[in-house]
């Protein structure tokens, strides 16, 4: 085996893994926060992510069609579309909760799950329909920015694009902000209190419905931001784009310990890194027997192993109640 090659591409692999991992982490937060307060797997979350991606591309395309795209600073454009994606996706998530989950709050657990799957199909087809009518196409490509695609070279075999760094920096900033909100503010305490015990939280004066809506808003906004960053990073999106990243982010949330916010971040990063490692190293380590196409099998096998030994996930804690 060529250890020199292994070492040489390592930084590259880590950067690829981090880009993927931060994206998964952003999406995973939406799953884990909603699970935290409602014990519901919000299967529509992958579509919230997808809608965020479409908001980004639509804004860029309309700027482009007016000839304004070349005239604004690409970073300003990027901030604009990320914010717009967050607002639209966040509000959409709140609407989904209001319409599809809240009326079913006291129904058996399976019912809102089915409702979530229904919302997921609905959003896929709603986007497909509107884009088909509006642009006559629903596979859309993000206009590219030369600055973002510029590659920074470090040494012979390592180079990465500016946009990878942007994705990592933006995700990191959001994760830090969220962690601060949840750990250090009055609203964050209320979110944690509602996650633990809704009736008792209401005895403290917490409007539980409002806090639940807030978690959908925050989770949806993070998902929407991830959707925009996904489009910027991988260029094309379509109404079904959300499915695979959604499933992987959900897995990341479970891996970190569902309901646990730092767990979702850690789970996302672990999954992203595993995937990148597998994609680059599998064929190298197996003498070509397994190629990069086995990356998902490799990553998910490791996940299964971790969950066999830690069913609560990496950071899922057991809190004992004493008499």
């Amino acid at each position: 085996m060529d250890w020199q090659l292994v070492l040489a591409i390592l930084p590259q692999v880590v950067i690829d893994g981090l880009v993927l991992g931060f994206m998964y982490a952003l999406i995973a937060l939406g799953y884990t926060m909603v699970y935290g307060v409602l014990e519901l797997i919000n299967f529509a979350h992958s579509e919230i992510f997808m809608v965020g991606g479409f908001v980004g591309v639509e804004i860029l395309l309309s700027l482009q069609s007016h000839g304004w795209l070349g005239r604004i600073n690409p970073f300003v454009a990027l901030i604009l579309i990320v914010l717009a994606g967050m607002v639209v996706a966040g509000l959409l998530a709140v609407a989904v909760e209001r319409i599809a989950y809240r009326p079913l709050r006291s129904a058996p657990r399976l019912i809102p799950l089915i409702s979530a799957i229904g919302v997921s199909f609905f959003l896929q087809d709603a986007v497909r329909l509107t884009e088909s009518l509006w642009r006559n196409a629903f596979y859309l490509t993000y206009p590219s920015f030369a600055v973002l695609n510029r590659r920074i070279e470090l040494g012979q075999s390592i180079d990465f694009s500016v946009k990878s760094i942007v994705v990592i920096a933006a995700s990191l900033a959001m994760l830090v902000a969220l962690q601060f909100l949840v750990k250090r503010t009055r609203l964050g305490r209320a979110i944690r209190a509602v996650a633990e015990d809704q009736p008792t939280a209401s005895l403290m004066g917490v409007n539980v419905n409002r806090i639940i809506a807030l978690t959908f808003l925050i989770g949806g906004a993070m998902g929407g931001a991830a959707g925009v960053l996904f489009g910027v990073q991988y260029n094309t999106i379509n109404p079904f784009t959300g499915f695979i990243p959604g499933i992987k982010a959900f897995t990341a949330a479970v891996l970190g310990g569902i309901g646990n916010i730092p767990g979702a971040m850690v789970g996302g990063l672990v999954l992203g890194l595993l995937e990148a490692f597998a994609a680059s190293y599998l064929s190298l380590f197996t003498g070509g027997a397994f190629g990069a196409e086995y990356k998902d099998i490799f990553a998910f096998s490791i996940l299964i192993l971790i969950l066999i030994f830690r069913p609560r996930g990496l950071l899922g804690e057991v809190v004992r109640e004493r008499a």
Partner: protein, 246 residues
């Protein structure tokens, strides 16, 4: 320890009248009526399933009555959600303590002050720590790791953080060692004495409850069976036989 508390009729802060509450088809409260005077400690006694917890849960808004009225300071509370009732000055220490296990001791106290917009929260956290020094030692600890007695102290401290005019205490002695029960009850009497906080005390431990209460109501199968001054109830042969183990 029975003080000559004011009689309820003179200055009732809480008036519950003809309260009917159902759990599905089960008729849990069948016309409960009682009054609590400003500054009083009133004990709600009775066996398991008599409707004591249901009564306090209805007052604090966790349950909605099908019929009847709850008036606090002259204002009707029926139909108001729990999170609004706190703002009117009622704090509820629920049965089984229900502290937030995953939050730290200090964070639990801060949650207790959620309904307050003023800046006195730090100072009041310190006051709770004065009342319960054990909590101060453990302030950074996750509350789920506290002992049962400490959790009860935290639950009471958390309710005090709302600076309530009326404190509803549901079974504060549950599952605690006798020494701790005594300590908790002394503190409850203290809160009433020093801060003038009105208290509704739900208890199975009738002896302890009547020792600090001014008046008491005995509930049986969803209705008030007996009521009177605490000293009278403690002497009542029926009460002695049924609840004081004689």
């Amino acid at each position: 320890m029975t003080g000559a508390g004011p009689s309820a009729s003179r200055a009732a802060i809480l008036a519950v009248e003809d309260l009917h509450v159902y759990y599905g088809e089960i008729h849990a409260l069948k016309g409960v009526s009682f009054e609590v005077g400003r500054g009083e400690i009133v004990a709600l006694l009775g066996p398991n399933g008599a409707g004591k917890t249901t009564t306090v849960k209805t007052i604090s808004g966790l349950l909605a009555p099908r019929r009847g009225t709850v008036r606090f300071d002259g204002e009707s509370l029926v139909g108001k959600p729990a999170h609004e009732i706190v703002y009117r000055g009622i704090a509820h220490v629920p049965e089984g303590r229900k502290i937030f296990n995953r939050l730290s001791v200090t964070e639990n106290l801060e949650m207790g002050a959620y309904s307050r917009g003023d800046g006195g929260i730090r100072r009041d956290v310190d006051r709770v720590f004065e009342l319960f020094p054990r909590l101060k030692e453990r302030r950074a600890q996750v509350a789920g790791t506290l002992s049962g007695g400490e959790q009860q102290m935290l639950a009471i401290g958390r309710a005090l953080m709302a600076t309530p005019r009326l404190l509803l205490l549901d079974e504060p002695s549950m599952g605690l060692a006798p020494v701790l029960v005594e300590q908790i009850f002394t503190t409850i009497a203290d809160i009433n004495n020093r801060q003038g906080t009105t208290i509704v005390l739900v208890e199975q431990n009738a002896a302890m409850a009547l020792a600090i209460a001014h008046r008491g109501y005995v509930l049986e199968t969803g209705a008030v069976a007996l009521h009177g001054r605490a000293a009278e109830l403690a002497e009542n042969p029926e009460v002695r036989r049924a609840y004081l183990g004689e």
